[in-house]
Symmetry: C2
Subunit: 246 residues, 2 copies
DNA sequence: CGCTTCCTTTGATCTGGATCAACGGACGTT
DNA sequence: AACGTCCGTTGATCCAGATCAAAGGAAGCG
């Protein structure tokens, strides 16, 4: 469950490839969109690439934040973990997404654990060049402000969901938000982005409860579950759950 | 419970006094610290002063956000309210504090209700001048980025508390965070910033539960309660509750 | 193939906090 | 003083979801 974090290929062995990957990952992050090619190059030269094995803790809560962490490939979870095993997953992170902007800018300790769900490749951009950009580049500052504003509203939504909706409502809402059109028109399908245990933690319930909730929705004819694939049979019915009582 | 929002003095009657109050309130907001006197003047000229009676809904969820709302005097609560009466208070706002920066900058609908707990005087700075400043003033953009980063971390803390700690732990933590030194050295006192019903909603529990929790802490000799005043008799014991099981 | 290690499901039971109900006290109004 | 309106306390009961326990699946590996 807690394998060592040990890069398969030591960083020094593949500097050219690393540099290329770093540039691609950094250029793909929304927060860096306003940057010139030159600025992106400077960032890439200060960033570091790093691998993490499945299950490894990439950044630990209360540690000094190493910078903005972006995922090149793999999946990771942001999880609040307490002694006693109970954990709450705040966000699941996929390729092209990043984490730690707020804490890196304020040079605060990491507020949360970042844990690899699969083997991951990560880019870390240290706080110093971020702060320099913030100082000198108005476009970047604006972009940061907008992104953080969005994150603020998002977290508020999370808070609302966790404080106000029942587990079943949160599940219905979650499935609805992930719904993707399937082959036949009018058919929707969701592929869960992680194991059910992790999804349960994301929804703030235990895996046993998630299992029971899924079965309840199945019994009602709203969904059909096959492993990680969930077919949404009655999206309107699901949406009705979202706002109303169970 | 839901009195009309009706200013005691119509705005047009006291423009000079209003202008003065607006300038003072706006200059006092942390987010505007980097602004020049001239910029502050422009903002004040675009802002509006407004009164709200106790219990009035100042800004309602899903309404268009009128701008950044700052409190000149009085107390208000940011509350998520659901049909069914249950409400979660996210933040209590006092004089010199503000609300709505994120939503105003993104021109999103108001994510939450702002409700006056006492008669209030409010300044509203519309989104347009804020956006203009964000575009043209790098110092302001930086300041906004920092404030929003702080808010992000704060909300994450809220989420953690609401998802992970028990009601008693949240209460202990809350009291600890409000503790102010009393007369005798080593003595601490808390004056609750609102009615116990509201504090309960702030902590995410019902007033009955808060009442029982306070009695429990009293029985254990950790605190003593007299109306809105709470004396902390054993701060270490309280802090011990915060991290450990009940 | 058999083994181990997760992941998931299902059932039984427990519990923190909500809900329902009733009452006492503090103010402010008339 | 008498009255209405909040606010806070206390007791009884209820319930969503946690916890405990046990038993299948499914996937990786020697």
């Amino acid at each position: 469950m807690q394998p060592e974090l040990r890069p398969k290929t030591p960083l020094a062995l593949a500097p050219a490839r690393d540099r290329h990957v770093l540039e691609r990952v950094i250029a793909g992050l929304p927060v860096f969109r306003p940057l010139s090619r030159a600025d992106l190059g400077v960032l890439a030269s200060q960033a570091r690439l790093r691998e993490a094995r499945r299950g490894a803790v990439i950044v630990q809560r209360a540690e000094r934040m190493p910078g903005l962490v972006a995922l090149a490939y793999g999946t990771a979870k942001l999880a609040l973990r307490r002694a006693g095993g109970q954990e709450k997953v705040v966000r699941l992170i996929g390729p092209g997404e990043s984490f730690g902007l707020a804490a890196a800018l304020l040079d605060r300790p990491c507020p949360i654990d970042l844990v690899a769900l699969t083997d991951c490749l990560l880019a870390t951009i240290p706080p110093v060049p971020l702060l320099r950009l913030l100082e000198n580049n108005g476009g970047f500052a604006r972009c940061v402000a907008r992104l953080l504003a969005e994150r603020t509203l998002e977290l508020l939504g999370e808070l609302e969901a966790s404080a106000q909706h029942s587990g079943l409502q949160r599940l219905a809402c979650y499935l609805d938000s992930l719904a993707a059109p399937a082959g036949p028109p009018g058919a929707w399908i969701v592929r869960l982005p992680a194991t059910k245990t992790t999804v349960a933690a994301r929804l703030g319930v235990k895996k046993e409860t998630l299992s029971r909730m899924l079965r309840q929705l199945t019994t009602r004819g709203l969904i059909a579950v096959a492993g990680r694939e969930v077919a949404i049979l009655d999206r309107a019915g699901l949406a009705r759950l979202t706002g109303a009582a169970s």
